[in-house]
């Protein structure tokens, strides 16, 4: 940086008709970085005609009038109306070398907004003491930490000094606790008397007193002023506690999964605005040349601003997590210590870095049925789509990023075609959410044949990425008495159509393992999750989840799968009926929920 900086972005003051040529208006001040620096002030704007009315003293930064202000000067200015004050905007630059004109576009500048009032300055009797002491609007100054002491603001109000010539005005800082600020009595400049450290205190709340000695007495006017301390990157990052995290990668191997958390602290602020700010940005580097590690792992870095843990001064807490960049194969098995170097790129000192460690263990995942054979008993009365049971390789429900599919095969292949047709009775669907296979009744006609009462299958599980397979034995036996059957292919009705217990429990609905629909009686008055309804299997429907079997046919469980608008009082997430009023029933995916009141004689028309 160029060292010199302005402790405020904007200077404002009023100017009046009749102010004399050569009279001072305000003083622009610049702070120094090095003791030897010397500011050269210059006026930038030359676009507007009124610029020539002013000049600035190169050394002191005091802005003077070049001419006495006339009434005609006010009306010569362009602005929307004749009455309100007209704002004149100037731009002042500062350089540590004698200025050249082009510097205005390169060096820091500050804006001076003068409100030209279409009137002469108030007389001594008209003006309040506070107006003599302080401008109406003054902004809070700021100084950068670790900088040279020096003046940061001229407290005197030049434009009002000559209004009451017999008054003497002086300023002071009311020092509540010892603050490194004072007023230079000779110049009335507010001075910071020592270097300040933002990490110790971010803002100083000063009370400035203006003492006005009139002919008769001494009056005091107080004004509070907040001096904000600007931050610079003068603290290196540090670890508070462990710099090593143990990480185990096993069943969850999906891209994007994050493991472990390591914290790095920095007493400096990390600005997010403007976005291209680089101050105090920590850059990290994976300390490995192993391409496998680089291809599969990355570090996720987030930071947030905190105050309490840094003694009520803003600082930054950085979080680092290990992240999988892609799905990891089930066969991968490794252990390694991964280093991650965090570097505070804008910290000048040598200790701007911290080394973090992730102690990583990747275990393989076996695809096997843990010495289990499956055996399910199904009622002869079960209707099509009745769920029989689930098959699952070891730990399958913990898998993430591991894709396993299941298939059924007949054990004894060389049996007659007739015998083979028995095996249409059972089928299998994939449940993607929990990597299980769901067995269900596929064809009820074959159930009745004596030779089809006990069916032996082989369940084959296959992991998709490496084609690893596992097999196990499955026996499905059909017991109990079958329902009397009409000749043609039975089209089972949807249980959900039934609105009363009697109808419901008498119906052989689709997907009913017992061969009969089941009635759920709700109790609540309004819209409730436990609405009354008729279901093929209360264990799976309604349960708020349109599973692999239910999604095969809308008539199985429209309460979970319907996407059409629901008629009556309801609540819904994405699909199905999350909550309903009274009894909910559906006709092919179109659902109704209504109070289940006795049918009184409300006439339906012009009786």
């Amino acid at each position: 940086s160029f060292g010199l900086y302005f402790p405020q972005r904007l200077y404002t003051e009023n100017i009046y008709v009749g102010q004399q040529q050569g009279s001072p208006l305000l003083q622009v001040i610049s702070m120094r970085e090095f003791p030897t620096e010397r500011p050269y002030f210059f006026l930038c704007s030359h676009r507007d005609a009124f610029t020539s009315w002013f000049h600035i003293d190169e050394a002191s930064g005091v802005l003077y009038l070049n001419k006495t202000l006339e009434w005609s000067d006010f009306s010569s200015l362009r602005s929307g109306s004749v009455r309100s004050p007209k704002d004149l905007t100037l731009k002042v630059g500062v350089s540590s070398t004698p200025p050249m004109k082009v510097m205005c576009t390169i060096l820091p500048t500050v804006e001076v907004k003068l409100s030209f009032i279409n009137d002469t300055a108030p007389s001594c009797g008209q003006v309040e003491l506070s107006t003599l002491c302080f401008p109406e609007k003054i902004s809070n100054p700021h100084i950068t930490e670790n900088r040279e002491p020096g003046a940061l603001r001229q407290l005197r109000r030049f434009t009002h000094m000559s209004i009451c010539p017999n008054y003497t005005i002086s300023y002071g800082v009311v020092a509540g606790s010892s603050v490194p600020f004072a007023v230079d009595d000779s110049t009335s400049e507010l001075v910071v008397t020592a270097q300040v450290d933002r990490e110790e205190k971010e803002v100083y709340h000063l009370d400035i007193v203006c003492m006005v000695r009139t002919e008769r007495n001494l009056e005091e006017v107080f004004r509070s002023l907040h001096v904000n301390i600007y931050d610079e990157d003068d603290n290196s990052p540090y670890v508070n506690g462990t710099d090593t995290e143990d990480v185990l990668v096993e069943f969850d191997r999906s891209e994007g999964t994050v493991f472990g958390t390591l914290f790095v602290y920095d007493r400096d602020t990390t600005p997010v605005y403007p976005t291209n700010q680089v101050q105090n940005k920590l850059v990290g580097t994976l300390m490995t040349n192993d391409s496998w590690i680089k291809n599969n792992f990355a570090i996720e870095h987030k930071f947030r601003e905190e105050k309490a843990i840094f003694g009520n001064v803003r600082g930054t807490v950085h979080e680092y997590k290990l992240k999988l960049s892609q799905n990891l194969s089930v066969t991968e098995q490794r252990s390694f210590l991964l280093g991650y170097l965090v570097n505070d790129t804008t910290f000048p000192g040598p200790e701007g870095t911290v080394l973090l460690h992730f102690n990583v263990t990747v275990l393989p995942v076996p695809i096997r049925f843990s010495n289990v054979t499956y055996s399910f008993t199904v009622s002869q009365k079960a209707t099509t789509y009745s769920q029989i049971g689930k098959v699952c390789v070891e730990n399958c429900q913990k898998f993430k990023g591991i894709d396993v599919t299941y298939q059924l095969e007949i054990v004894d292949r060389n049996i007659t075609a007739e015998a083979q047709s028995c095996y249409w009775a059972v089928s299998l669907a994939q449940n993607p959410n929990d990597n299980t296979g769901v067995l269900y009744v596929n064809d009820t006609k074959v159930l009745r044949r004596p030779e089809c009462q006990e069916l032996e299958y082989v369940v084959i599980a296959q992991e998709q990425q490496n084609k690893l397979q596992a097999k196990t034995q499955l026996t499905v036996s059909f017991q109990g008495e079958a329902d009397s059957l009409k000749t043609d292919e039975p089209r089972f009705p949807a249980c959900a159509e039934k609105r009363q217990r009697g109808d419901c429990e008498a119906t052989r609905g689709l997907g009913a393992p017992t061969g009969r629909c089941q009635w759920r009686q709700g109790r609540d008055k309004g819209i409730s999750k436990r609405y009354s309804t008729c279901s093929p299997n209360l264990g799976t429907c309604p349960d708020g989840y349109c599973d692999a079997i239910e999604s095969k046919n809308i008539s199985i469980c429209p309460q979970d799968c319907s996407s059409e608008a629901i008629i009556g009082g309801y609540e819904r997430d994405l699909y199905g009926i999350k909550a309903g009023h009274g009894t909910c029933y559906c006709f092919e995916g179109k659902c109704f929920c209504e109070r289940d009141e006795p049918e009184d004689d409300i006439c339906n028309d012009m009786c």
């Binding site: 609105r499 109808d503 008629i567 009556g568 006709f587 092919e588 179109k590 109704f592 209504e594 109070r595 009141e597 049918e599 009184d600 409300i602 006439c603 339906n604 028309d605 012009m606 009786c607």
Partner: protein, 102 residues
Amino acid sequence: RAKKGSKPCSLRKLVVTVSQLGIAFVSDETIAFHYCSGECDASRKNYDFVLEAMKKKGLLRKNKARHRPCCRPTAYEEDFLFLDNSFQYKTIHEFSAKACGC
């Protein structure tokens, strides 16, 4: 409420003589008369639920409005030409349903 086992709104048939139609035509010719019958519960909308509820709460007089879709013809068969018992050809317009709906 749909009565137990009542079928949804659909086309039904009745074979009658023209005289039996009861609109003063006298002819022994026989005709298949189609009409609409059955319940319309599956076509109800929130409108029907609200209307029913308002009637029950007395916000609306009971017979003021119909709170259930009705099973009615949505199309009629073409005109029917017949010879009456005094051997005059007569036509009856839109007397038999071709399709039903709620």
